[in-house]
């Protein structure tokens, strides 16, 4: 999934699957374009999680198993909580780029912000709609990143005594 550009998956799945002659509503490019995005990003995110799980030191697993916890209990209570905390920032990056890559789906038909802005630009011969589209994107991404920073700072403050600045 990760070896092929996102745009190509959107074309392949978004045009290809409805092309086999499905009935409405299963021939919608919006549906299949979204599925293409979900599949590619699913692959990216799985990789981030894998790296997060690997980054938890083996000694944590040893400590947990030595107390008699099973493999799955160790994963659930010891490894995953630490891994998830570590992968939140990279996951936020992925969320932000996913949110931006939604614009790619417009290439196979559905009208989203970018495409609508293009239409309005053509209508009024004025670039302001693009600026408006950019602002709408920023209105979503900036609070997202700020929230992540806040969550991380809170966690760090709670669990550690001193903080190097």
């Amino acid at each position: 999934m990760r070896g092929v550009p996102v745009i190509l998956w959107i074309y392949l799945i978004g045009f290809g699957v409805p092309g086999v002659g499905l009935e409405r509503p299963f021939n919608s490019p919006l549906l299949w374009g979204s599925i293409a995005l979900v599949m590619t990003y699913g692959a990216y995110i799985a990789e981030v999680f894998r790296a997060g799980i690997d980054s938890v030191h083996e000694s944590q697993r040893a400590a947990s198993r030595s107390l008699g916890l099973s493999n799955s209990q160790t994963m659930r209570f010891v490894i995953l909580p630490q891994a998830i905390r570590r992968v939140v920032p990279p996951l936020m990056n992925d969320l932000v780029s996913l949110q931006k890559d939604v614009a790619l789906v417009s290439l196979i038909g559905p009208i989203e912000i970018l495409r609508q802005a293009g239409i309005d630009k053509a209508k009024f011969a004025n670039f302001t709609p693009y600026v408006a589209a950019a602002i709408i994107f920023l209105m979503i991404t900036i609070p997202l990143t700020r929230t992540t920073d806040y969550l991380l700072a809170r966690e760090r403050k709670r669990t550690s005594a001193t903080r190097v600045r």
Binding site: Q60, S64, R65, S66, G68, L69, Q82, R158, T159, S160
Partner: protein, 246 residues
């Protein structure tokens, strides 16, 4: 309760770490393992806790072979606790949760019972103020004492202490060793891998010197430290004496 190791062998790749260890430990006995780095002390303890599968031989607890292949290690680990050199507390959990996790998940005690056990043990070792702290907020000595409490909370019959003071600043070693001294009085069986020769001499009922993956010499602390017979033991003790650790 008796722990018995019969011809235990363990290799990592080509390197033989345990070359046929034979050992019997009686209930309530405190046995120390000394020897140079890489002599197999840590591996021996990890094998007893089944964290490392052994290549050959057998380990018996109460005459029951715990090392057999395919056996569920979890019930055994409830009876054998281990404390690690690097503490290995769970950094995302409070001290309380570190201690109660296994109590609630493995032996299925209620949250109240588990809390009760945690606070009384912490009190016993003077850590009751730290119950809601996180590991990173504690000193190394406090962390290691919490790690000991975490292992003790499961009421193990055998406690394995794997160089528990090696990662500590010298002035913090004492408080951790005090905990072990108190435990000796409680009658728990302890296997201790250590570089603290004075401590091994003081606390042990028996000292084993490991060399080349074998118990090269064993005996009472007085015998090993004052009257070693094996040439390698003598050399080792001379070397540690030279750096002032005896």
């Amino acid at each position: 309760m008796k722990l018995e190791l019969r011809n235990v062998r363990k290799s990592f790749e080509e390197r033989v770490v345990l070359a046929g260890i034979n050992l019997e430990v009686n209930a309530g006995e405190v046995v120390s393992f000394i020897g140079s780095s890489g002599s197999g002390k840590t591996t021996l303890l990890r094998c007893v806790n089944l964290l490392e599968p052994i290549d050959d031989g057998a380990i018996f607890l109460d005459g029951d072979e715990i090392s057999s292949v395919g056996r569920d290690p979890n019930p055994v680990r409830r009876r054998i606790g281990i404390v690690f050199q690097s503490f290995n507390l769970f950094p995302h959990m409070s001290v309380r949760r570190n201690i109660t996790l296994a109590l609630t998940q493995v032996v299925e005690k209620s949250a109240d019972e588990a809390n009760e056990i945690a606070s009384s043990l912490l009190k016993r070792f003077g850590l009751d103020e730290k119950i809601d702290a996180y590991p990173d907020q504690l000193s190394g000595g406090q962390q290691q004492r919490v790690a000991i409490v975490r292992a003790l909370a499961m009421s193990p019959e055998v406690l394995l202490l794997d160089e528990i003071t090696s990662a500590l600043d010298p002035e913090l070693v004492g408080e951790v060793l005090d905990v072990v001294r108190e435990l000796k009085g409680s009658g728990i069986t302890m296997l201790i891998a250590t570089h603290e020769m004075n401590f091994a001499r003081e606390i042990s009922d028996r000292v084993c010197f490991l060399a080349s993956g074998l118990v090269a010499e064993q005996g009472s602390p007085t015998q090993i430290f004052s009257n070693p017979t094996d040439e390698r033991t003598k050399q080792f003790l001379r070397r540690v004496q030279a750096v002032g650790k005896t």
